[in-house]
Symmetry: C2
Subunit: 145 residues, 2 copies
Amino acid sequence: MDKFMQAAVEEARMGLAEGGIPIGSVIVHQGEIIGRGHNRRIQKGSTTLHGEMDALENAGRQKASVYRECTLYTTLSPCPMCSGAILLYGIPKVVIGENQTFMGDEDLLRSRGVELTVLDNADCIQLMTDFIRDQPELWNEDIGE
Amino acid sequence: MDKFMQAAVEEARMGLAEGGIPIGSVIVHQGEIIGRGHNRRIQKGSTTLHGEMDALENAGRQKASVYRECTLYTTLSPCPMCSGAILLYGIPKVVIGENQTFMGDEDLLRSRGVELTVLDNADCIQLMTDFIRDQPELWNEDIGE
């Protein structure tokens, strides 16, 4: 696995170890991770810190010119909120671990010119398959269902 | 002015008094404000806590059935990130103070069935007109430009 997706998976596993939802994300600029994070719904009672949002938050305030050169890695297809954040900051490339357990707003991202790569990664699929089986109510809450 | 938009404007003014970007929001369920907030970019160095996101965060973890009965009030047209959050949680109605100083992703929201009301409120317009004039770099940063 690509080292950046590996870092996103490590974030997802950290979240799981904390009792949280196992979705992780990293933001990469010029070959360096500038922000990393994981879903914090359970840990912080947060309704906005999905993995991608947590990575964006931890990257801190960046110039538009930086975002325009970033790639966001996420273990799971980005939901409408995280897709909107990607559009707000003009992040041009997103690498997605998998979209089999949840299909995010990929069509919207593509329609606005974001380049998506979907890996169908087995570790990412397993993390979410197990979590959704074990904690279906938490998962539904996280996606507004 | 409607008392809920008045509360959102109060939030915006609180943000301004803190040295922040004057955008406020409240979320209303069955006639009660269940979450209120304002943009926290400056105050917390936050890239994700726009006014609407801060209100969602402060509303805490709610059931999908609650979000489905909510109206979100915001002093400014919601950007792609905040529009995505509205879609994620299935909030059906959004009341917007103004969209003259910034046009958010209103077309996307309408295309997904969200009911929008735009007030063209003079106080909301003044707050943003003054802020954009005085702090154009901060404002551009907030909208990813």
